[in-house]
Symmetry: C2
């Protein structure tokens, strides 16, 4: 099982449009430090699955037939906006495993095209070949699932977007032996937000779930600035995510 972060930013991304701070000026010309909308690629048994679909050029990066499915965490635009174009293709359909959200986003459900939306139920595991997936409800402004991916003896947990964890999600994860936790950490410690973790909240979850490694994603501007100056302050097993960064195996 292999997991690559494709995007590690929040909806605004980095550099922040219109920002004239020193950090944004520095990274403007360094493509490697840009952050696109949080999403990832999970590869297992020669299959490729996206986690979320905020990438604006999915059709270029994944020609027809190269994508075996998409796990959607929720229907906010920065997690689904790449589907608006992809859906109008022809030929092989693309399964999209998603939380139950009647509204979806825009007219995706009215004109789903080649997308085969498959609504999942919270805590009900399902399997794709030898990959076992468990949707775990999170705490966000729209119905949102994190996903636990289990393959052989490996366990990867991907949790965006969320502020904290619901008790049952937390107890399931505390009972799991997690090799890699990827988690929404949008803000530095001094900023409180009702839909996203700040760094302090993430570190608390890291202590509670005890994954072998935690990777920060969905990183916003202010946290990015903080990390550029203080990343040495993170615990050894907590690392900063970046775009196009293979975080598992490590």
């Amino acid at each position: 099982m292999r997991l690559t972060l494709l995007g590690s930013g929040n909806a605004a991304g980095m550099p922040l449009y219109g920002c004239v701070c020193e950090h944004c000026q520095t990274i403007k010309d360094n493509e490697d430090l840009h952050r696109g909308p949080a999403c990832a690629l999970i590869e297992v048994d020669n299959k490729k699955y996206l986690i979320d679909a905020g990438l604006m050029d999915i059709t270029r990066q994944y020609p027809s037939g190269t994508l075996d499915g998409i796990f959607l965490t929720h229907f906010h635009p920065d997690h689904v906006q790449g589907l608006f174009h992809l859906r109008w293709g022809i030929g092989q359909s693309v399964p999209v495993y998603c939380p139950p959200d009647k509204q979806g986003c825009g007219d995706l459900f009215n004109y789903s095209g080649i997308l085969d939306f498959q609504e999942q139920r919270k805590f009900e595991s399902f399997s794709l070949d030898f990959l076992r997936i468990t949707p775990l409800p999170l705490i966000h402004s729209k119905v949102t699932f994190g996903y636990q991916f289990e393959y052989q003896n490996q366990c990867i947990v991907y949790l965006t977007d969320t502020k904290g964890l619901p008790p049952k999600t937390q107890s399931i994860l505390e009972a799991s032996s997690i090799d890699l936790l990827v988690i929404d950490t949008s803000f530095p410690t001094n900023i409180e937000n009702s839909g996203h973790n700040n760094l302090s909240e993430t570190l608390q979850i890291h202590q509670q779930l005890k994954p072998k490694r935690t990777v920060l994603t969905h990183i916003g501007h202010d946290l990015d600035v903080w990390l550029s100056q203080h990343s040495d302050n993170l615990p050894e097993s907590v690392i900063t995510g970046h775009d196009n960064f293979t975080v598992y195996p490590y």
Copy 2:
């Protein structure tokens, strides 16, 4: 006044994702023949305005401060999807002139960020410096405006998405001396669609409005294939649009 088509395709674009036809195979490797979502740039008096915002990389193409406004024809995703990211910028706001559509698209109205949506009324002209703009209702599945742009003695009319024209829009345009008409022509003559012109319908409008030049845009797969074989069959004053093609002045 200068008008450049930035995108000349329908929502699916060209090449069509998943299509294995000879034409799609041919253009796949020729970036110049790709078609992105229909949109345009209008430049006048050192100001830059977008017509529609389906471009997936507006923030890259137009750094903060370089875009003076956006005219939206309607709120279908292929005409607004670039706004989902742009809105989260900071600093100078971007005026977005749009038709009255309570629903909009996704959560654009709930979280408008730096976008300053300014609802317009049909047939009520407004001015930006010396540019005079008249919103003209069209016939589509969502409330949609075409726009007439007048500057000095020049007149450009941009009509997407539409099938035919409502009587009052038609009579206003018949009474105008149009230098350039850009018009939704999604399908070849043999295909009927309730929301878009086919080529035959466009040619009829061309005859009725008598613009000096007509440019086809919002071109779908089947029309693109037809045009690749038969573009010589078009009247001399009717030309095929392409991405990144300055169509006025000609």
